[in-house]
Assembly symmetry: C2
Homo-oligomer: 304 residues x 2
Protein backbone atom coordinates (compact mmCIF):
# COMPACT_ATOMS: atom_id res chain seq x y z
CA UNK A 1 0.00 0.00 0.00
CA UNK A 2 1.26 3.46 -0.84
CA UNK A 3 2.27 5.54 2.19
CA UNK A 4 -0.10 8.44 2.87
CA UNK A 5 0.39 9.42 6.46
CA UNK A 6 -0.46 12.49 8.53
CA UNK A 7 1.58 13.66 11.52
CA UNK A 8 0.18 16.33 13.85
CA UNK A 9 2.91 18.59 15.25
CA UNK A 10 0.62 21.28 16.59
CA UNK A 11 -3.17 21.72 16.79
CA UNK A 12 -3.71 24.64 19.16
CA UNK A 13 -4.72 28.16 18.22
CA UNK A 14 -2.97 31.51 18.77
CA UNK A 15 -2.56 31.53 22.56
CA UNK A 16 0.02 29.05 23.84
CA UNK A 17 -1.04 26.43 26.36
CA UNK A 18 0.63 23.48 28.03
CA UNK A 19 -1.57 21.16 26.01
CA UNK A 20 -1.13 22.32 22.43
CA UNK A 21 1.31 23.98 20.09
CA UNK A 22 0.27 26.23 17.22
CA UNK A 23 -0.66 24.73 13.83
CA UNK A 24 1.77 22.43 12.04
CA UNK A 25 1.35 19.08 10.29
CA UNK A 26 3.39 16.86 8.04
CA UNK A 27 1.81 14.74 5.31
CA UNK A 28 4.09 11.92 4.16
CA UNK A 29 3.31 10.63 0.68
CA UNK A 30 5.52 7.73 -0.45
CA UNK A 31 8.48 8.99 1.59
CA UNK A 32 8.08 12.62 0.59
CA UNK A 33 7.26 15.02 3.45
CA UNK A 34 4.98 18.01 2.96
CA UNK A 35 4.78 20.54 5.79
CA UNK A 36 1.40 22.19 6.29
CA UNK A 37 1.57 25.42 8.31
CA UNK A 38 4.50 26.08 10.59
CA UNK A 39 3.68 27.64 13.96
CA UNK A 40 6.34 28.48 16.53
CA UNK A 41 7.95 25.32 17.88
CA UNK A 42 7.54 23.24 14.71
CA UNK A 43 11.25 22.47 14.48
CA UNK A 44 11.24 21.35 18.11
CA UNK A 45 8.24 19.08 17.51
CA UNK A 46 10.07 17.31 14.70
CA UNK A 47 12.41 15.90 17.36
CA UNK A 48 9.48 13.98 18.85
CA UNK A 49 8.70 12.22 15.57
CA UNK A 50 10.54 9.88 13.23
CA UNK A 51 10.42 12.64 10.60
CA UNK A 52 13.56 14.15 9.12
CA UNK A 53 13.82 17.93 8.58
CA UNK A 54 15.68 17.62 5.38
CA UNK A 55 13.12 15.36 3.74
CA UNK A 56 10.61 18.21 3.68
CA UNK A 57 9.88 18.79 0.04
CA UNK A 58 7.48 21.75 0.01
CA UNK A 59 5.78 23.88 2.65
CA UNK A 60 2.14 24.99 2.41
CA UNK A 61 1.10 27.98 4.53
CA UNK A 62 -2.65 28.52 4.82
CA UNK A 63 -2.50 32.18 5.84
CA UNK A 64 -0.22 34.79 7.32
CA UNK A 65 -1.26 34.75 10.95
CA UNK A 66 1.64 34.21 13.33
CA UNK A 67 0.38 30.93 14.80
CA UNK A 68 0.62 29.43 11.30
CA UNK A 69 4.05 30.66 10.22
CA UNK A 70 6.25 31.99 13.07
CA UNK A 71 8.16 28.70 13.09
CA UNK A 72 9.43 29.09 9.53
CA UNK A 73 12.55 31.15 10.18
CA UNK A 74 13.85 28.75 12.85
CA UNK A 75 13.14 25.69 10.74
CA UNK A 76 14.79 27.20 7.65
CA UNK A 77 17.83 28.12 9.72
CA UNK A 78 18.10 24.65 11.33
CA UNK A 79 17.77 22.88 7.97
CA UNK A 80 20.76 24.94 6.88
CA UNK A 81 22.79 23.93 9.96
CA UNK A 82 21.93 20.31 9.17
CA UNK A 83 23.32 20.64 5.67
CA UNK A 84 20.24 20.76 3.47
CA UNK A 85 21.04 21.28 -0.20
CA UNK A 86 17.71 20.76 -1.96
CA UNK A 87 15.74 23.96 -2.59
CA UNK A 88 12.74 24.52 -0.34
CA UNK A 89 9.55 25.92 -1.86
CA UNK A 90 7.12 27.74 0.41
CA UNK A 91 3.60 28.13 -0.99
CA UNK A 92 1.73 30.93 0.77
CA UNK A 93 -0.88 33.58 0.05
CA UNK A 94 0.29 37.19 0.10
CA UNK A 95 3.82 38.44 0.13
CA UNK A 96 5.52 36.22 2.68
CA UNK A 97 8.82 36.70 0.88
CA UNK A 98 8.83 40.43 1.64
CA UNK A 99 8.07 39.76 5.29
CA UNK A 100 10.82 37.20 5.68
CA UNK A 101 13.49 38.65 3.43
CA UNK A 102 15.23 40.96 5.94
CA UNK A 103 15.53 38.07 8.41
CA UNK A 104 16.58 35.53 5.76
CA UNK A 105 19.23 37.90 4.46
CA UNK A 106 20.57 38.53 7.95
CA UNK A 107 20.14 35.30 9.91
CA UNK A 108 20.45 32.84 7.03
CA UNK A 109 22.95 34.52 4.76
CA UNK A 110 25.12 31.40 4.58
CA UNK A 111 22.26 29.00 3.92
CA UNK A 112 23.53 26.09 1.78
CA UNK A 113 20.21 25.81 -0.08
CA UNK A 114 17.71 28.04 -1.81
CA UNK A 115 14.41 29.17 -0.29
CA UNK A 116 11.81 29.79 -2.98
CA UNK A 117 8.51 31.52 -2.37
CA UNK A 118 5.56 30.51 -4.47
CA UNK A 119 2.64 32.86 -3.75
CA UNK A 120 -0.87 31.75 -4.65
CA UNK A 121 -4.25 33.41 -4.93
CA UNK A 122 -6.23 32.31 -1.88
CA UNK A 123 -9.46 33.35 -3.59
CA UNK A 124 -9.18 30.62 -6.23
CA UNK A 125 -9.38 26.83 -6.31
CA UNK A 126 -6.28 25.87 -8.27
CA UNK A 127 -3.60 23.22 -8.53
CA UNK A 128 -0.42 24.68 -6.96
CA UNK A 129 1.76 21.58 -6.79
CA UNK A 130 2.09 18.43 -8.80
CA UNK A 131 4.51 15.53 -9.01
CA UNK A 132 4.30 11.90 -10.19
CA UNK A 133 2.20 10.84 -7.24
CA UNK A 134 0.48 13.92 -5.82
CA UNK A 135 -1.52 17.02 -6.68
CA UNK A 136 -2.17 19.85 -4.23
CA UNK A 137 -5.11 22.23 -4.70
CA UNK A 138 -6.02 25.41 -2.85
CA UNK A 139 -9.45 25.69 -1.23
CA UNK A 140 -10.66 29.28 -0.70
CA UNK A 141 -11.70 29.85 2.94
CA UNK A 142 -13.41 32.70 4.81
CA UNK A 143 -11.13 34.10 7.50
CA UNK A 144 -10.14 37.61 8.64
CA UNK A 145 -7.29 37.69 6.12
CA UNK A 146 -6.75 35.83 2.81
CA UNK A 147 -6.72 32.16 3.77
CA UNK A 148 -6.68 28.91 1.90
CA UNK A 149 -7.16 25.28 2.80
CA UNK A 150 -5.41 22.55 0.84
CA UNK A 151 -6.54 19.38 -0.87
CA UNK A 152 -3.82 16.74 -1.18
CA UNK A 153 -4.88 14.26 -3.83
CA UNK A 154 -2.92 11.20 -4.77
CA UNK A 155 -2.77 10.93 -8.54
CA UNK A 156 -4.65 8.17 -10.26
CA UNK A 157 -2.70 4.98 -9.63
CA UNK A 158 -1.78 2.61 -12.49
CA UNK A 159 -4.21 -0.19 -13.32
CA UNK A 160 -3.09 -3.58 -11.96
CA UNK A 161 -1.75 -5.95 -14.62
CA UNK A 162 -3.21 -9.49 -14.80
CA UNK A 163 0.04 -11.40 -15.27
CA UNK A 164 -1.64 -14.57 -16.58
CA UNK A 165 -3.40 -12.65 -19.34
CA UNK A 166 -0.23 -10.74 -20.28
CA UNK A 167 1.52 -14.10 -20.74
CA UNK A 168 -1.45 -15.61 -22.54
CA UNK A 169 -1.46 -12.83 -25.15
CA UNK A 170 2.33 -12.70 -25.29
CA UNK A 171 2.32 -8.93 -24.61
CA UNK A 172 5.83 -7.47 -25.10
CA UNK A 173 7.36 -5.53 -22.14
CA UNK A 174 7.35 -2.20 -23.99
CA UNK A 175 3.53 -2.24 -24.16
CA UNK A 176 3.05 -2.60 -20.38
CA UNK A 177 3.12 1.13 -19.43
CA UNK A 178 0.37 1.92 -21.96
CA UNK A 179 -1.73 -1.01 -20.72
CA UNK A 180 -1.25 0.06 -17.08
CA UNK A 181 -2.48 3.50 -18.17
CA UNK A 182 -5.68 1.89 -19.57
CA UNK A 183 -4.98 1.41 -23.25
CA UNK A 184 -6.12 -1.65 -25.20
CA UNK A 185 -3.50 -3.97 -26.70
CA UNK A 186 -3.28 -4.64 -30.44
CA UNK A 187 -1.65 -8.02 -31.16
CA UNK A 188 0.90 -8.46 -33.98
CA UNK A 189 -1.93 -10.09 -35.97
CA UNK A 190 -3.92 -6.84 -35.55
CA UNK A 191 -6.43 -8.15 -33.01
CA UNK A 192 -7.61 -5.64 -30.37
CA UNK A 193 -7.57 -6.97 -26.78
CA UNK A 194 -9.68 -4.70 -24.57
CA UNK A 195 -7.83 -3.33 -21.53
CA UNK A 196 -10.46 -4.86 -19.25
CA UNK A 197 -9.20 -8.36 -20.12
CA UNK A 198 -5.60 -7.45 -19.24
CA UNK A 199 -5.97 -5.37 -16.05
CA UNK A 200 -8.13 -4.71 -13.03
CA UNK A 201 -8.95 -1.37 -11.38
CA UNK A 202 -6.11 0.49 -9.69
CA UNK A 203 -5.86 0.96 -5.92
CA UNK A 204 -8.12 3.94 -5.18
CA UNK A 205 -6.29 7.26 -4.86
CA UNK A 206 -6.14 8.76 -1.38
CA UNK A 207 -7.02 12.30 -0.47
CA UNK A 208 -6.59 14.62 2.48
CA UNK A 209 -8.17 18.05 2.98
CA UNK A 210 -6.78 20.61 5.44
CA UNK A 211 -9.27 23.32 6.44
CA UNK A 212 -7.98 25.94 8.87
CA UNK A 213 -8.94 28.72 9.76
CA UNK A 214 -12.41 29.55 8.53
CA UNK A 215 -15.91 30.65 9.24
CA UNK A 216 -18.43 27.88 8.54
CA UNK A 217 -18.77 27.85 4.78
CA UNK A 218 -20.54 25.31 2.58
CA UNK A 219 -18.66 26.64 -0.41
CA UNK A 220 -15.85 24.20 0.39
CA UNK A 221 -18.06 21.09 0.08
CA UNK A 222 -17.43 20.49 -3.64
CA UNK A 223 -13.67 20.55 -3.03
CA UNK A 224 -13.62 18.17 -0.08
CA UNK A 225 -16.34 15.77 -1.26
CA UNK A 226 -15.60 12.18 -0.24
CA UNK A 227 -12.02 12.76 0.93
CA UNK A 228 -10.49 9.99 3.00
CA UNK A 229 -9.58 12.41 5.77
CA UNK A 230 -10.77 15.93 6.49
CA UNK A 231 -8.95 18.09 9.05
CA UNK A 232 -11.31 20.91 9.94
CA UNK A 233 -10.71 23.59 12.53
CA UNK A 234 -13.04 23.46 15.53
CA UNK A 235 -11.78 26.40 17.53
CA UNK A 236 -14.93 26.74 19.59
CA UNK A 237 -17.98 24.94 20.96
CA UNK A 238 -21.44 25.81 19.71
CA UNK A 239 -21.94 27.75 22.97
CA UNK A 240 -19.23 30.18 21.76
CA UNK A 241 -20.73 30.43 18.27
CA UNK A 242 -20.92 34.23 18.44
CA UNK A 243 -17.22 34.43 19.24
CA UNK A 244 -16.58 32.01 16.39
CA UNK A 245 -18.51 34.22 13.99
CA UNK A 246 -16.80 37.44 15.08
CA UNK A 247 -13.33 35.89 14.83
CA UNK A 248 -14.12 33.99 11.58
CA UNK A 249 -13.71 30.56 13.12
CA UNK A 250 -15.86 27.40 13.22
CA UNK A 251 -17.48 25.39 15.97
CA UNK A 252 -17.06 21.64 16.45
CA UNK A 253 -20.69 21.12 15.46
CA UNK A 254 -20.17 23.04 12.22
CA UNK A 255 -17.09 20.94 11.42
CA UNK A 256 -19.20 17.81 11.91
CA UNK A 257 -22.01 19.17 9.71
CA UNK A 258 -19.58 19.92 6.90
CA UNK A 259 -17.96 16.50 7.16
CA UNK A 260 -21.38 14.93 6.94
CA UNK A 261 -22.55 17.10 4.02
CA UNK A 262 -19.33 16.37 2.11
CA UNK A 263 -19.52 12.65 2.83
CA UNK A 264 -15.92 12.42 3.94
CA UNK A 265 -14.65 9.13 5.37
CA UNK A 266 -13.16 10.56 8.53
CA UNK A 267 -12.98 13.92 10.32
CA UNK A 268 -10.09 15.16 12.44
CA UNK A 269 -10.76 18.34 14.43
CA UNK A 270 -8.13 20.79 15.70
CA UNK A 271 -7.10 24.43 16.20
CA UNK A 272 -8.58 24.30 19.68
CA UNK A 273 -9.06 27.53 21.60
CA UNK A 274 -6.86 27.86 24.70
CA UNK A 275 -10.02 28.15 26.81
CA UNK A 276 -10.79 24.41 26.70
CA UNK A 277 -8.94 22.35 29.27
CA UNK A 278 -10.66 19.20 28.00
CA UNK A 279 -10.99 18.92 24.23
CA UNK A 280 -13.52 16.11 24.61
CA UNK A 281 -16.32 18.70 24.80
CA UNK A 282 -15.42 19.56 21.20
CA UNK A 283 -15.18 15.90 20.22
CA UNK A 284 -18.57 15.07 21.68
CA UNK A 285 -20.17 18.02 19.95
CA UNK A 286 -18.76 17.06 16.55
CA UNK A 287 -19.80 13.41 17.11
CA UNK A 288 -23.42 14.49 17.42
CA UNK A 289 -23.39 15.48 13.77
CA UNK A 290 -20.83 13.07 12.28
CA UNK A 291 -19.85 9.57 13.36
CA UNK A 292 -16.20 9.27 12.36
CA UNK A 293 -14.47 12.04 14.30
CA UNK A 294 -11.15 12.10 16.08
CA UNK A 295 -9.37 14.80 18.11
CA UNK A 296 -6.07 16.04 16.73
CA UNK A 297 -3.23 15.92 19.23
CA UNK A 298 0.49 16.56 19.15
CA UNK A 299 2.26 13.34 18.21
CA UNK A 300 -0.79 11.79 16.54
CA UNK A 301 0.08 9.89 13.37
CA UNK A 302 -2.74 8.71 11.11
CA UNK A 303 -2.27 6.28 8.24
CA UNK A 304 -4.81 7.45 5.66
CA UNK B 1 14.76 39.62 51.71
CA UNK B 2 14.48 41.29 48.34
CA UNK B 3 13.42 38.98 45.52
CA UNK B 4 16.22 38.28 43.04
CA UNK B 5 15.32 35.10 41.24
CA UNK B 6 16.45 33.46 38.03
CA UNK B 7 14.21 31.23 35.88
CA UNK B 8 15.73 29.14 33.09
CA UNK B 9 13.36 28.79 30.12
CA UNK B 10 15.93 27.44 27.67
CA UNK B 11 19.60 26.48 27.90
CA UNK B 12 20.35 24.58 24.70
CA UNK B 13 22.27 25.85 21.71
CA UNK B 14 21.25 26.28 18.06
CA UNK B 15 20.17 22.74 17.15
CA UNK B 16 16.91 21.67 18.77
CA UNK B 17 16.89 18.55 20.95
CA UNK B 18 14.31 16.83 23.12
CA UNK B 19 16.27 17.88 26.19
CA UNK B 20 16.76 21.60 25.76
CA UNK B 21 15.23 24.69 24.21
CA UNK B 22 17.24 27.60 22.84
CA UNK B 23 18.42 30.38 25.19
CA UNK B 24 15.90 32.27 27.34
CA UNK B 25 15.88 33.28 30.99
CA UNK B 26 13.83 35.52 33.22
CA UNK B 27 15.37 37.43 36.13
CA UNK B 28 12.76 38.56 38.65
CA UNK B 29 13.84 41.52 40.78
CA UNK B 30 11.28 42.60 43.38
CA UNK B 31 8.36 41.51 41.19
CA UNK B 32 9.75 43.00 38.00
CA UNK B 33 10.55 40.49 35.25
CA UNK B 34 13.48 40.95 32.89
CA UNK B 35 13.72 38.62 29.91
CA UNK B 36 17.26 37.67 28.85
CA UNK B 37 17.45 36.30 25.30
CA UNK B 38 14.38 34.88 23.63
CA UNK B 39 14.90 31.73 21.57
CA UNK B 40 12.07 29.99 19.72
CA UNK B 41 9.58 28.52 22.17
CA UNK B 42 10.09 31.12 24.91
CA UNK B 43 6.40 32.03 25.02
CA UNK B 44 5.48 28.35 25.31
CA UNK B 45 7.96 27.88 28.17
CA UNK B 46 6.32 30.69 30.14
CA UNK B 47 3.30 28.42 30.49
CA UNK B 48 5.39 26.01 32.57
CA UNK B 49 6.35 28.69 35.11
CA UNK B 50 4.48 30.94 37.50
CA UNK B 51 5.69 33.91 35.43
CA UNK B 52 3.29 36.28 33.71
CA UNK B 53 3.99 37.51 30.16
CA UNK B 54 2.74 40.95 30.80
CA UNK B 55 4.99 41.57 33.79
CA UNK B 56 8.03 41.55 31.51
CA UNK B 57 9.53 44.98 31.87
CA UNK B 58 12.49 44.97 29.48
CA UNK B 59 14.11 42.42 27.20
CA UNK B 60 17.88 42.03 26.86
CA UNK B 61 19.17 40.27 23.73
CA UNK B 62 22.83 39.25 23.84
CA UNK B 63 23.33 38.92 20.08
CA UNK B 64 21.45 38.46 16.85
CA UNK B 65 21.77 34.72 16.30
CA UNK B 66 18.44 32.99 15.78
CA UNK B 67 18.65 30.75 18.84
CA UNK B 68 18.71 33.90 20.97
CA UNK B 69 15.90 35.92 19.39
CA UNK B 70 13.57 33.90 17.11
CA UNK B 71 11.00 33.74 19.92
CA UNK B 72 10.53 37.51 20.06
CA UNK B 73 7.88 37.94 17.38
CA UNK B 74 5.61 35.26 18.87
CA UNK B 75 6.00 36.61 22.39
CA UNK B 76 5.32 40.20 21.30
CA UNK B 77 2.23 39.04 19.42
CA UNK B 78 0.91 36.98 22.35
CA UNK B 79 1.43 39.82 24.83
CA UNK B 80 -0.76 41.89 22.52
CA UNK B 81 -3.49 39.22 22.47
CA UNK B 82 -3.34 39.17 26.28
CA UNK B 83 -3.96 42.90 26.44
CA UNK B 84 -0.58 44.34 27.36
CA UNK B 85 -0.56 48.12 27.48
CA UNK B 86 2.84 48.97 28.97
CA UNK B 87 5.54 49.70 26.40
CA UNK B 88 8.14 46.95 25.93
CA UNK B 89 11.78 47.94 25.50
CA UNK B 90 14.11 45.54 23.73
CA UNK B 91 17.81 46.15 24.30
CA UNK B 92 19.92 44.53 21.59
CA UNK B 93 23.15 45.07 19.70
CA UNK B 94 22.83 45.92 15.99
CA UNK B 95 19.72 46.88 14.14
CA UNK B 96 17.13 44.43 15.41
CA UNK B 97 14.40 46.97 14.73
CA UNK B 98 15.11 46.88 10.98
CA UNK B 99 15.02 43.09 10.99
CA UNK B 100 11.73 42.91 12.84
CA UNK B 101 9.92 45.91 11.46
CA UNK B 102 8.31 44.29 8.39
CA UNK B 103 6.91 41.50 10.57
CA UNK B 104 5.83 43.83 13.38
CA UNK B 105 4.06 46.07 10.88
CA UNK B 106 2.29 43.13 9.29
CA UNK B 107 1.59 40.60 12.06
CA UNK B 108 1.28 43.03 14.98
CA UNK B 109 -0.31 46.06 13.39
CA UNK B 110 -3.08 46.18 16.01
CA UNK B 111 -0.75 45.76 18.98
CA UNK B 112 -2.23 47.61 22.01
CA UNK B 113 1.24 48.59 23.26
CA UNK B 114 4.44 50.07 21.95
CA UNK B 115 7.58 48.07 21.16
CA UNK B 116 10.70 50.18 21.60
CA UNK B 117 14.13 49.15 20.43
CA UNK B 118 17.11 50.34 22.38
CA UNK B 119 20.30 49.39 20.51
CA UNK B 120 23.58 49.29 22.42
CA UNK B 121 27.24 49.09 21.50
CA UNK B 122 28.33 45.53 22.29
CA UNK B 123 31.98 46.64 22.25
CA UNK B 124 31.57 48.76 25.39
CA UNK B 125 30.91 48.14 29.07
CA UNK B 126 28.10 50.56 29.83
CA UNK B 127 24.99 50.93 31.93
CA UNK B 128 22.00 50.41 29.60
CA UNK B 129 19.18 50.20 32.14
CA UNK B 130 18.52 51.66 35.53
CA UNK B 131 15.58 51.92 37.90
CA UNK B 132 15.19 52.38 41.67
CA UNK B 133 16.43 48.91 42.45
CA UNK B 134 18.49 47.68 39.52
CA UNK B 135 21.26 48.58 37.10
CA UNK B 136 22.08 46.58 33.99
CA UNK B 137 25.51 46.77 32.35
CA UNK B 138 26.75 45.33 29.08
CA UNK B 139 29.80 43.05 29.09
CA UNK B 140 31.66 42.89 25.75
CA UNK B 141 32.14 39.26 24.61
CA UNK B 142 34.06 37.56 21.80
CA UNK B 143 31.70 35.72 19.47
CA UNK B 144 31.35 35.45 15.69
CA UNK B 145 29.09 38.51 15.62
CA UNK B 146 28.75 41.51 18.00
CA UNK B 147 27.73 39.97 21.31
CA UNK B 148 27.30 41.22 24.84
CA UNK B 149 26.81 39.63 28.21
CA UNK B 150 24.84 41.44 30.93
CA UNK B 151 25.53 42.29 34.54
CA UNK B 152 22.40 42.73 36.63
CA UNK B 153 23.33 44.61 39.78
CA UNK B 154 20.94 45.44 42.54
CA UNK B 155 21.42 49.05 43.56
CA UNK B 156 22.93 49.81 46.93
CA UNK B 157 20.21 49.12 49.47
CA UNK B 158 19.30 51.67 52.15
CA UNK B 159 21.12 51.47 55.51
CA UNK B 160 18.99 49.87 58.23
CA UNK B 161 17.60 52.36 60.76
CA UNK B 162 18.19 51.63 64.48
CA UNK B 163 14.72 52.54 65.75
CA UNK B 164 15.79 52.92 69.37
CA UNK B 165 18.45 55.47 68.47
CA UNK B 166 16.07 57.39 66.19
CA UNK B 167 13.67 57.68 69.13
CA UNK B 168 16.47 58.51 71.56
CA UNK B 169 17.63 61.47 69.45
CA UNK B 170 14.07 62.45 68.57
CA UNK B 171 14.87 62.40 64.81
CA UNK B 172 11.96 63.90 62.84
CA UNK B 173 10.43 61.71 60.06
CA UNK B 174 11.59 64.03 57.26
CA UNK B 175 15.25 63.30 58.10
CA UNK B 176 14.91 59.51 57.77
CA UNK B 177 15.55 59.22 54.00
CA UNK B 178 18.85 61.14 54.33
CA UNK B 179 19.91 59.02 57.30
CA UNK B 180 19.05 55.79 55.43
CA UNK B 181 21.23 57.11 52.60
CA UNK B 182 24.17 57.47 55.05
CA UNK B 183 24.07 61.10 56.14
CA UNK B 184 24.79 62.24 59.69
CA UNK B 185 22.00 63.91 61.68
CA UNK B 186 22.31 67.43 63.02
CA UNK B 187 20.09 67.96 66.06
CA UNK B 188 18.09 71.17 66.53
CA UNK B 189 20.75 72.21 69.06
CA UNK B 190 23.37 71.87 66.29
CA UNK B 191 24.98 68.63 67.54
CA UNK B 192 26.22 66.21 64.82
CA UNK B 193 25.18 62.58 65.38
CA UNK B 194 27.33 60.33 63.16
CA UNK B 195 25.33 58.06 60.87
CA UNK B 196 27.07 55.03 62.40
CA UNK B 197 25.18 55.59 65.68
CA UNK B 198 21.80 55.68 63.87
CA UNK B 199 22.07 52.87 61.32
CA UNK B 200 23.73 49.58 60.51
CA UNK B 201 25.01 48.36 57.15
CA UNK B 202 22.43 47.64 54.44
CA UNK B 203 21.62 44.17 53.14
CA UNK B 204 24.34 43.46 50.58
CA UNK B 205 23.28 44.12 46.98
CA UNK B 206 22.86 41.08 44.77
CA UNK B 207 24.33 40.60 41.33
CA UNK B 208 23.91 38.25 38.40
CA UNK B 209 26.10 38.01 35.30
CA UNK B 210 24.89 36.38 32.06
CA UNK B 211 27.68 35.33 29.70
CA UNK B 212 26.59 33.73 26.42
CA UNK B 213 27.99 33.14 23.75
CA UNK B 214 31.73 33.69 23.85
CA UNK B 215 35.19 32.41 23.28
CA UNK B 216 37.11 32.06 26.55
CA UNK B 217 38.11 35.59 27.46
CA UNK B 218 39.63 36.86 30.68
CA UNK B 219 38.68 40.38 29.70
CA UNK B 220 35.30 39.82 31.36
CA UNK B 221 36.77 39.09 34.82
CA UNK B 222 36.72 42.71 36.09
CA UNK B 223 33.02 42.97 35.20
CA UNK B 224 31.89 39.73 36.84
CA UNK B 225 34.19 39.85 39.90
CA UNK B 226 32.48 38.44 42.99
CA UNK B 227 28.96 38.21 41.52
CA UNK B 228 26.49 36.08 43.45
CA UNK B 229 25.66 34.05 40.37
CA UNK B 230 27.46 33.69 37.06
CA UNK B 231 25.73 32.01 34.11
CA UNK B 232 28.46 31.10 31.64
CA UNK B 233 28.03 29.21 28.41
CA UNK B 234 29.69 25.78 28.33
CA UNK B 235 28.76 24.64 24.85
CA UNK B 236 31.49 22.02 24.66
CA UNK B 237 33.75 19.72 26.65
CA UNK B 238 37.48 20.31 26.73
CA UNK B 239 37.81 17.39 24.26
CA UNK B 240 35.99 19.58 21.69
CA UNK B 241 38.13 22.62 22.48
CA UNK B 242 39.13 23.06 18.83
CA UNK B 243 35.47 23.16 17.78
CA UNK B 244 34.83 25.63 20.60
CA UNK B 245 37.62 27.88 19.34
CA UNK B 246 36.51 27.76 15.70
CA UNK B 247 32.87 28.51 16.60
CA UNK B 248 33.79 31.12 19.26
CA UNK B 249 32.36 29.16 22.15
CA UNK B 250 33.68 28.04 25.55
CA UNK B 251 34.29 24.69 27.20
CA UNK B 252 32.96 23.70 30.62
CA UNK B 253 36.51 23.74 31.99
CA UNK B 254 37.01 27.30 30.75
CA UNK B 255 33.75 28.40 32.38
CA UNK B 256 34.97 26.92 35.66
CA UNK B 257 38.36 28.65 35.33
CA UNK B 258 36.72 32.02 34.77
CA UNK B 259 34.36 31.55 37.71
CA UNK B 260 37.33 30.73 39.88
CA UNK B 261 39.46 33.64 38.64
CA UNK B 262 36.56 36.06 39.15
CA UNK B 263 35.78 34.71 42.61
CA UNK B 264 32.06 34.39 41.92
CA UNK B 265 29.87 32.75 44.54
CA UNK B 266 28.17 30.27 42.21
CA UNK B 267 28.44 29.18 38.58
CA UNK B 268 25.56 27.99 36.41
CA UNK B 269 26.55 26.49 33.05
CA UNK B 270 24.35 26.26 29.95
CA UNK B 271 24.08 26.63 26.16
CA UNK B 272 24.85 22.94 25.81
CA UNK B 273 25.68 21.54 22.39
CA UNK B 274 23.09 19.11 21.00
CA UNK B 275 25.79 16.42 20.85
CA UNK B 276 25.71 15.71 24.61
CA UNK B 277 23.01 13.30 25.69
CA UNK B 278 24.18 13.61 29.30
CA UNK B 279 25.11 17.11 30.44
CA UNK B 280 26.84 15.70 33.51
CA UNK B 281 30.06 15.34 31.51
CA UNK B 282 30.05 19.14 31.29
CA UNK B 283 29.17 19.52 34.98
CA UNK B 284 31.98 17.21 36.08
CA UNK B 285 34.48 19.01 33.92
CA UNK B 286 33.54 22.43 35.31
CA UNK B 287 33.61 21.04 38.87
CA UNK B 288 37.25 20.13 38.44
CA UNK B 289 38.13 23.81 38.26
CA UNK B 290 35.41 25.40 40.43
CA UNK B 291 33.48 23.99 43.38
CA UNK B 292 30.11 25.70 43.21
CA UNK B 293 28.71 24.70 39.82
CA UNK B 294 25.22 23.73 38.75
CA UNK B 295 23.75 22.66 35.41
CA UNK B 296 21.13 24.92 33.90
CA UNK B 297 17.92 23.13 32.96
CA UNK B 298 14.50 24.15 31.67
CA UNK B 299 12.28 24.90 34.64
CA UNK B 300 15.15 25.56 37.05
CA UNK B 301 14.47 28.49 39.39
CA UNK B 302 17.32 29.83 41.52
CA UNK B 303 16.84 32.28 44.37
CA UNK B 304 20.00 34.38 44.28
Amino acid sequence: MNQFELHILGCGSALPTRRHLPSAQVLVVRGKQFLIDCGEGTQLQFRYTKLNYNKILDVFISHLHGDHCFGLIGLISTMGLLGRHAPLTIHAPGNLENLMKPQLDYFCKELPYEVRFSPFDSGKHACIYTDRSLEVYTIPLRHRIPTSGFLFKERQNDRHILKDMIEFFNVPLREIPAIKAGHDYITEAGERIPNGRLTIDPTPSKSYAYISDTLYTESIIPYIKGVDLLYHEATFCEKEKDTATVTFHSTAKQAGCLASAAGVKKLLIGHFSARYTDDNVLLNEARNTFGQVELANEGLCLEI
